[in-house]
Point group: C2
Chain length 316, copies 2
């Protein structure tokens, strides 16, 4: 029995990635309704904005869902956690910052705490601080990532060996093969993001979804490296403009100006790929359709079961 | 039945990575004797040097082994392939360059051709040129790598979907979990390098082996990015010196001067970590012992079988 299912009260060991700022009740509720754990990513949104998404999600589903708070990104981390307590959310995932000061309070209220980590050191720290689950995110993942650049394939088994709490694999997962591979490496489940954007349920701009479906294996790029920030985005006119600005030489402050959340919303929600960016994991190249979230999960589980049979026949 | 085993005449679906220049008959024969496919990496060695390693390997084992030729690295690619034909080697792996002009001749002589690729485009090109197998190498791998930086987790399924010939996964594999994960992603087998260096059979300097065993998850670094070259090495005084020179600004020519094969041999064979470098994959952090190659393979297969049972119990 997969212990993750019991902890998170879900049918499938699949959770939604944070998607700060572009989060919405439609996709979050679709993920939870389909048997996974939907997640609202607070990003830099105000408590009022997030509260309204929580209320709308509760109107759309009776199932559990989570709130992701990127601690050093949100201007209101404490208020976000108060919202999770107020609305008795099943789980909160904490990323981009030290989760230790927040974990105790959430657990007092019966909220499960997931912490997003990119190294064994961070994972052990989270476990020691009382986290229930660690989400280990590899270099292939979409959006802001760790400068360590450790990939999912090597990160998962090392984190599994470092902690006793369940580990969820994030970064690079798009189908049943990825689900089983993550489990083979020791993960109890997977977190997916890019694959969920490319669904018929997701309310992102069609330019964003189409770009994921059309992209080949070499079409995500890293921007921000020259200023010590790693962000994985799709190759678009705007991301190539960012790279050219980096080539000329820009400061972290200038880079931040060019990658504000407004620029993110401009790309992902407004579909303007000349003046806004769109996050994407390297898995984009594998994605070629826009199923409903429910179809996606059912296909992943079905394919996953077939994969297990195939490997048994292949490994003597 | 795993078709790879028949093609390569091996007991286990595990092959040795190239290891140009530091290759030797001892490790190559140990891998083949243990049931995998040993490989001699020609690197920049002369035909005479490689011939003597082939002869010594044949004296040590009656089992099949392969020769790896990095086409744009070796000053003698044609001579190397002549050696493979002369000594009736089972297989040749071609990397770092266009394999198309060489595949036909090798196949005429009954030699199986593996091509090392890092993108779907390269994989399809190799298949069309007649390759028997593609080795798909992810960003986590040791040594010189592709600027595309596509990781093993996402590269394998995309390549598997692009070609009909068997795919071997390379980069990030160190135990039975990695073996099964690679197979879950669609690979027929795995290529390993760093894990083989850290064996009691391998004749590399103890400083090299110890450094792998002692390293944590954040101790491989990329050098050469500033000049358009990606090489994954372990964090040592010399690699940190390389990074500092890149920070100051150096040309590709200067970088090449600092990373000649003499510098490689100085680190890996002589164990001088102040004046030579040592390649390593990100998997180094997972490695904590120096088994024989035979023990390693037996453990990988045994662990792999247990992993399959565990996933079956975890995926409902």
């Amino acid at each position: 029995m997969n212990k993750l299912l019991g902890i998170l009260d879900v049918q499938y060991p699949i959770i939604q990635g944070g998607m700060g700022n572009i989060s919405n009740a439609i996709l979050t509720s679709a993920v939870s309704e389909a048997g996974g754990l939907g997640t609202i990513g607070a990003g830099t949104m105000t408590p009022e904005e997030v509260e309204s998404i929580i209320i709308e999600t509760k109107n759309r589903t009776n199932k559990s869902f989570a709130l992701n708070v990127a601690l050093t990104v949100s201007p209101y981390p404490r208020e976000m956690l108060q919202l999770a307590i107020k609305y008795k959310l099943k789980a909160v995932s904490l990323s981009a910052g030290n989760p230790s000061p927040y974990i105790g309070k959430l657990k007092e209220h019966g909220i499960k705490v997931l912490t997003v980590v990119a190294s064994c050191k961070q994972a052990k720290k989270a476990e020691n601080a009382g986290a229930d689950i660690v989400v280990a995110e590899g270099y292939e993942a979409a959006g802001i990532n760790s400068n360590l650049e450790t990939t999912t394939f090597v990160l998962i088994p090392q984190i599994v060996d470092s902690v006793r709490i369940p580990v969820i694999a994030a970064g690079g997962i798009g189908d049943g093969r990825g689900l089983v591979a993550a489990m083979a490496l020791g993960a109890s489940g997977v977190q997916i993001g890019t694959r969920l954007i490319a669904t018929s349920d997701s309310p992102f701009h069609l330019h964003y979804k189409t770009k994921i479906v059309d992209s080949k294996d070499d079409e995500t790029i890293i921007v921000g490296r020259s200023v010590g920030r790693i962000r994985r985005v799709l190759k678009t006119p705007y991301s190539q403009y960012l790279l050219s600005k980096e080539e000329e030489g820009i400061t972290l402050e200038q880079f931040n100006e060019l990658t504000t959340e407004e620029k993110h919303i401009l790309g992902a929600i407004k579909g303007n790929l000349n003046s806004g960016f769109i996050n994407s994991g390297q898995i984009a190249g594998l994605i070629s359709d826009l199923p409903t979230v429910k179809q996606l999960f059912q296909n992943m589980i079905k394919e996953g079961k077939n994969v297990i049979t195939d490997i048994k026949n292949n490994l003597h």
